[in-house]
């Protein structure tokens, strides 16, 4: 598959702001972050701290940036919420990840959201195909806090019984959308919430109640 950025994202001239660096050692650093992601996916709801720290372009936190560098490349078109539409950031993503940026959420393999209050409905993203449920959009949602929000009860594979998770900053309809998302199984999107240098995984298998 050849994926290119939508034309208007194309920039042939280097941006004025100096590019912020990516991983110091792309191979080992992305492997370390990937290992942490496996833990976050295996134990949904558990706060996982990354042991790599990045100075990311605004408004990305270190964890959001680390996820981009570890997971995304030229074959995974990504959608950014409008607040991310800045030159420094897109130049950084396109340089370090060779990341094609798309304006159509439904085409995206990844969606990076830094303004969760204005998150579109989850159904706006790619839900995966019956033959390839893995092709759905993975959402990376950067939130103000992973613990200080309204406590919700999470249940499902990887959780012993249930746990309370307090993601902050989500719009009111988020958890209603999440119920709909669960009904699509095995299709459906997966989510990583990030804050600072921490993250929490929310795979499509998890049931969340108030």
């Amino acid at each position: 598959m050849t994926v290119r950025s939508d034309t208007s994202f194309r920039s042939a001239v280097s941006t004025d702001a100096p590019l912020k660096p990516g991983f110091a050692d792309p191979v080992f650093d992305s492997q370390a972050v990937f290992r942490d992601l496996l833990v976050a996916t295996a134990y949904p709801g558990r706060i996982v701290s990354l042991d790599r720290k990045l100075t990311a372009p605004r408004p990305f936190s270190s964890a959001t940036a680390a996820l981009c560098l570890s997971l995304m490349d030229f074959e995974t078109p990504a959608w950014l919420d409008t607040g991310l539409d800045n030159n420094e950031l897109t130049a950084w993503l396109r340089f370090h990840c060779s990341l094609p940026l798309t304006k159509t959420a439904a085409n995206a393999r990844f969606a990076i959201v830094s303004d969760p209050a204005n998150l579109p409905p989850l159904q706006a993203f790619h839900q995966g195909d019956v033959e390839y449920p893995d092709r759905s959009t993975t959402l990376i949602i950067q939130v103000p806090s992973l613990a200080d929000g309204p406590a919700m009860t999470w249940m499902g594979p990887g959780i012993n019984g249930s746990i309370k998770v307090g993601i902050a900053g989500l719009p009111p309809q988020f958890w209603t959308d999440w119920d709909l998302n669960r009904e699509l199984y095995p299709r459906g999107i997966d989510v990583f919430f990030t804050s600072g240098n921490d993250l929490i995984g929310l795979p499509r298998t998890i049931k969340v109640e108030a």
Binding site: L19, G22, P26
Partner: protein, 161 residues
Amino acid sequence: MMNSRTEVHAKPAAIAQRSDWLGVLSRSVPGELKALAADLVSDVAFERLRAPSVGLVMVRGRAGGTGNVFNLGEMTVTRASVQLTDGTVGHGYVQGRDKQQAELTAIVDALLQQPKRHDEIKSKIIEPLRQNAEARRIENSRKAASTKVDFFTMVRGENVA
């Protein structure tokens, strides 16, 4: 959603120029670039944005030369990116696994974008590389041309005046 990319479409000539010199640099033969560029770039201060690394590019063809695209096979490519102290970013993409050539290409690409060094670098590096490549092409083509079949046609009766 997107707004200002004013320079992008305004300078197609700049893009064509850069595309041209990057093409000349990436296709130089091993050692050639180093020999021409070593002295010119030895005192250039730069930061590595992307340390030289080896990867693969999938080479594509078209069925029948004009039809549907298909994947032919991969080739090794080394890329590197540098940033000069004034912020100019240079990229190098070269065939094979020569990390030094990739980084040198990136440095030269950055210098060529600086108005104060552009002309010097172009005349001392790009033009000689281009001439060498052209000389190699012509020499190979002349050898091939020596194997061109020169059919001679028998003159037959009806053509005789």
